[in-house]
């Protein structure tokens, strides 16, 4: 379908999407916390290598930073525009 109804639907979808973005921003630290605690579960495993855990943690860290960067940019767009240095 085309024409008039498309506008509102599009807007609503956008607002809805932003709401979910905020939900993601709220859930991100919880996901992170759970994932950070994961190495504990393999603590007793003699096969667990410290180097592997180290790499796992740093990759997780980098992912958190990347998602946070994306989110903060999207959430910043959402706040009322004010001109500033950045």
């Amino acid at each position: 379908m085309s024409g008039a109804p498309r506008g509102p639907v599009f807007l609503a979808r956008e607002t809805y999407g932003r709401r979910r973005l905020r939900d993601l921003a709220r859930m991100l630290p919880l996901f992170g916390a759970v994932l950070i605690l994961l190495p504990l579960l393999r603590g007793a495993d003699p096969a667990a290598r410290t180097g592997g855990v180290l790499i796992y943690l740093f990759v997780l860290w980098a992912l958190l930073v990347a998602v946070a960067a994306l989110l903060s940019r999207r959430l910043a767009d959402e706040s009322p525009p004010r001109d500033g240095a950045d």
Binding site: A25, V65, A68
Partner: protein
């Protein structure tokens, strides 16, 4: 080989460079060219004071001792930053809305601007931060000693303490110079923030440089490094679940609760959007800082002699590899980490101490309060400078006491655990409206006490503050109170044990005390504002408006924020109210804005107390409400009076209009009366004139003469009668009539009247006995005149073939009335109003011969006599009721 003197020279040059940068930044800020200083990059870099010398040197040592556990210290803050939408966003908004100056100020503000809570948090912060400052002094002196050692001179204890003293003194000077120039903490310390940002870059570069050198220079690449890790003692590390969770949690809480982190995160924040950038950029910074920690530790353990202190690998590795330049950079990185932390922590603590302890104490010590002469501004600045010296002195003292022996990481964790005790009150305060100041105080004190008992006091070493027996057996042999084994939990790691118990008891006491106590109104108001900071517009706090003089407030404000600033502020406020000059009206809005402004300088509780001293009353009191109600009542009364007045005027206007209408009507009546009179007089005069002319001309028989003379006589009589009537009416209307009072009987008077009326052929029906019973005492002649007129009228106007008059006597309302009723056609209802008017003959039948004055005269007579005459409709014919005057009324006249 780097000579020690060269090292000192480089260190001094570096510090001088920082001075210059800070100075230039302050200059630019004064000129208003400071937009770039408020960028999100600077904000993120300033957050890097989280990475102190504990990170720079200590992380490697930590990794060498405890494997990957050091990562918890950086992963915790990462989670908080990434989850900024939860807590940090709210904290920053609250901090900006309420112009919060420190974490003590936040807690104090939230719980009704409680001074006591401010003091508690301040003391906690000072005690908790002191070991941390000592840690920085220790790391800087250690790094000096490393170079001294490399230069071939082993440092002894005295040299270490002397160096520590010099470092502390230098930091004090720098902090005082740049930290106390602006009194308003919310005006932000540009110089210091820029210096910290530069130091953040230097320490990151230094650590990365050492890391790159170690991985690619010494180990030979990433794969080799990983192989080294697997071969090193670190590979044997197995994560301890309790420590991993507890340390992640504590470091996550620490980034909010540490006074210095609160300072850079909340107080120095100039734009909320910077938080969004920092949410990923700061974790990235932490990531970079932590990246090479394990490689450095592994290579250090591999290459350096077995007894080498792993806390100093970052320095000793380059030195051992004869990379003096790199070692120097690394030294500067360590110096940067230590100095930036000490400067910010000291400023944060000094602000808290001066705002929550010194100034309130000074204010209450002066009985005359905030209104005395003497500059509060000077007092505040002095208090802050002294606090800076005091805090650094305490840090130095702890450094001396602890002997510089304990591992860096251990001291850092002790400090963290102590400062995190603010967490329940802080989080509870901004998310739970039910939190009360009693709950916050009780929780804080409990947590503080448990922390001191289980971690802080034992940290001085066995036998120093706590004896070995106490540690082993508990106080007085009470086993379940052992510092490392509360309630018998002896198997836990001491740090985890302390974190668990202190926060558990702290939170529980906070919660229980909060639900058992009732908050003050101001607390509830602040609570609602803090918890719902995103929904509420700032500031429903109300001041009583009347007692505070604008001038008093100006005098006080000048002493806090400076004369020109205060005057500008007042002038702006006055202009906003549309007034000229410096003194705006003291509206609640103005007082509130002023309080916020002042709280930026001296903290919310103090500002509130100072304004309170002038405005008298901490908030809206019952008296104020009564005063407001009184005012409202006065206004209502006034408006009621106005309304009454306008109603009165309306009434007057209506009366005037009516009078005017009456006058107009009267004038019309007068005109009509004159024209009637002239008409009535002219008719007989015309016939008299014409018949007298006929007689004069003669030629008329004697019979005609007699007839004409008769007509002239009749007309002259009629004229006389008319003039008599007019005269009579004029006399009656002017009230000049003199009444001739007589006594008589109604029956006799009616006999006389019927006889006088001369109405032949008129049948009169009477009840003579009833009439005879009525005794009269009035002007009988006048009354008879009325009766005669009425009887004569029947004779003249009754159209019935056999006219008949009924005269009835009756009692009406206690008075005697006489009705005269004929059997004619009566008077049309619309004419009944007119018959008593002058010249109101309804049907001029000619024969009547009256001028229409009769009934008018009757009405006047009855009014004079004190009686009345009226027409009675619906009685069969024309019916008039004459109400006789009361005997008393006449007697009274």
């Amino acid at each position: 080989m780097v000579s020690f003197n060269l090292l000192v020279a480089v260190a001094l040059a570096y510090v001088a460079f920082l001075f210059l940068i800070a100075f230039a930044a302050e200059r630019r800020a004064e000129q208003g060219r400071d937009a770039w200083m408020r960028s999100s990059t600077i904000y993120t870099l300033s957050l890097s004071i989280y990475c102190t010398a504990w990170t720079f040197y200590g992380a490697v040592g930590y990794a060498a001792r405890s494997g990957l556990e050091y990562l918890t210290i950086y992963l915790g803050p990462t989670l908080v930053m990434v989850g900024w939408w939860w807590v940090l966003r709210k904290l920053v908004r609250i901090g900006r809305t309420h112009r919060i100056t420190s974490i003590a100020d936040l807690i104090s503000s939230r719980f009704g601007k409680s001074t006591a809570l401010g003091v508690i948090v301040t003391l906690l912060a000072v005690v908790g931060t002191t070991p941390y400052i000592a840690l920085q002094l220790q790391s800087v002196t250690f790094s000096f000693s490393v170079f001294a050692e490399a230069a071939g001179r082993e440092w002894q204890g005295t040299e270490l303490t002397v160096a520590g003293l010099w470092v502390a003194a230098g930091l004090a000077i720098f902090t005082i110079l740049f930290g106390t120039r602006n009194l308003d903490a919310n005006e932000r310390h540009h110089g210091i923030v820029i210096a910290i940002a530069v130091e953040a870059v230097v320490k990151l570069c230094a650590l990365l440089a050492v890391g790159i050198f170690v991985v690619w220079g010494l180990a030979g690449g990433v794969r080799e490094t990983l192989a080294l890790i697997d071969a090193s003692p670190i590979a044997a590390w197995k994560p301890s679940g309790s420590r991993w969770v507890a340390l992640t949690f504590v470091s996550a809480a620490a980034i909010i609760c540490l006074p210095r982190m609160f300072q850079v995160l909340v107080v120095e924040n100039s734009d909320e959007r910077h938080l969004g950038t920092a949410s990923w950029a700061f974790p990235l910074y932490l990531f970079a800082m932590s990246l090479f920690v394990v490689p450095i530790a592994v290579v250090g353990l591999d290459r350096l002699p077995a007894g080498a202190n792993p806390d100093l690998f970052v320095l000793t590795l380059p030195l051992a590899e004869r990379r003096e330049g790199l070692a120097m950079l690394s030294f500067l990185g360590g110096l940067s980490s230590a100095t930036s932390m000490v400067i910010v922590a000291t400023i944060a603590l000094a602000t808290m101490v001066s705002n929550h302890i010194v100034v309130p104490a000074w204010l209450s010590a002066r009985s005359d309060g905030a209104m005395v002469s003497g500059d509060v501004r000077r007092v505040v600045v002095m208090a802050r400078r002294l606090s800076i010296l005091g805090v650094l002195a305490l840090g130095y003292l702890y450094f001396r006491l602890s002997g510089g022996g304990a591992a860096l990481a251990a001291i850092g964790l002790i400090s963290f655990t102590g400062l995190v005790q603010v967490l329940p009150a802080l989080i509870g305060g901004i998310f739970w409206r039910g939190a009360t100041r009693w709950g916050a105080a009780a929780g804080l004190l409990t947590g503080f006490a448990v922390w001191a008992w289980t971690l802080f006091l034992p940290s001085f070493g066995e036998g120093n503050l706590m004896s070995a027996t106490l540690m082993a057996q508990g106080p007085f042999g009470i086993g379940w109170l052992r510092p490392y084994g509360l309630l018998g939990l002896t198997t836990l790691d001491p740090v985890v044990h302390a974190i668990l118990w202190s926060l558990l008891l702290n939170g529980a006491v906070f919660f229980l005390a909060s639900i058992l106590t009732f908050p003050t109104p101001l607390e509830r108001l602040q609570g609602a504002q803090f918890v719902n900071v995103f929904e509420h517009s700032p500031g429903p706090r109300a001041w009583s408006t009347r007692s505070a003089g604008a001038e008093d407030l100006l005098v006080m404000s000048q002493r806090i924020i400076g004369a020109s600033e205060a005057q500008a502020l007042f002038q702006r406020a006055a202009r906003r109210q549309g007034k000229e000059g410096y003194l705006p009206d003291v509206t609640p809005a103005f007082v509130e804005a002023l309080e916020r402004e002042l709280s930026g300088s001296v903290g919310a509780a103090t500002a509130h107390a100072m304004i309170g001293q002038i405005t008298e009353g901490a908030s809206v009191s019952v008296e104020d409400l009564i005063a407001v109600a009184d005012e409202a009542a006065q206004i209502m009364e006034y408006s009621a009076r106005l309304e009454e007045k306008s109603r009165e005027q309306e009434r007057t206007a209506r009366a005037l209009r009516e009078a005017n209408a009456k006058l107009t009507a009267l004038s019309i009546q007068k005109d009509a009366f004159l024209s009637q009179i002239s008409h009535e007089l002219r008719t007989p005069m015309t016939s008299i004139r014409s018949f007298s002319e006929l007689l004069r001309d003669g030629g008329i028989g004697p019979e005609g003469q007699a007839r004409y003379a008769g007509i002239i006589h009749d007309e002259a009589l009629r004229l006389t009668r008319l003039l008599d009537d007019l005269l009579d009416l004029a006399v009656l209307e002017n009230g000049q009539v003199t009444l001739n009072r007589q006594e008589g009987r109604l029956s006799d008077l009616l006999d006389r009247a019927i006889a006088a009326a001369g109405a032949e052929g008129l049948a009169v029906r009477r009840n003579r006995a009833r009439e005879a019973a009525v005794a009269l005492e009035t002007d009988l002649d006048r009354l008879a005149q009325v009766f005669i007129n009425l009887i004569a009228n029947v004779g003249k106007y009754c159209a019935a073939p056999r006219p008949e008059l009924r005269i009835e006597v009756l009692e009406v309302g206690g008075r005697t009335a006489v009705d005269f009723i004929d059997n004619g056609s009566g008077i049309a209802p619309e004419d009944t109003e007119l018959i008593f008017e002058k010249f109101s003959r309804l049907t001029d039948q000619g024969t009547a011969g009256g001028a229409g004055l009769g009934l008018a005269i009757c009405r006047e007579i009855m009014a004079r006599l004190g009686g009345a005459i009226g027409y009675q409709p619906g009685r069969g014919g024309a019916a008039f009721r004459v109400t006789l005057p009361a005997r008393e009324a006449l007697a009274a006249e």
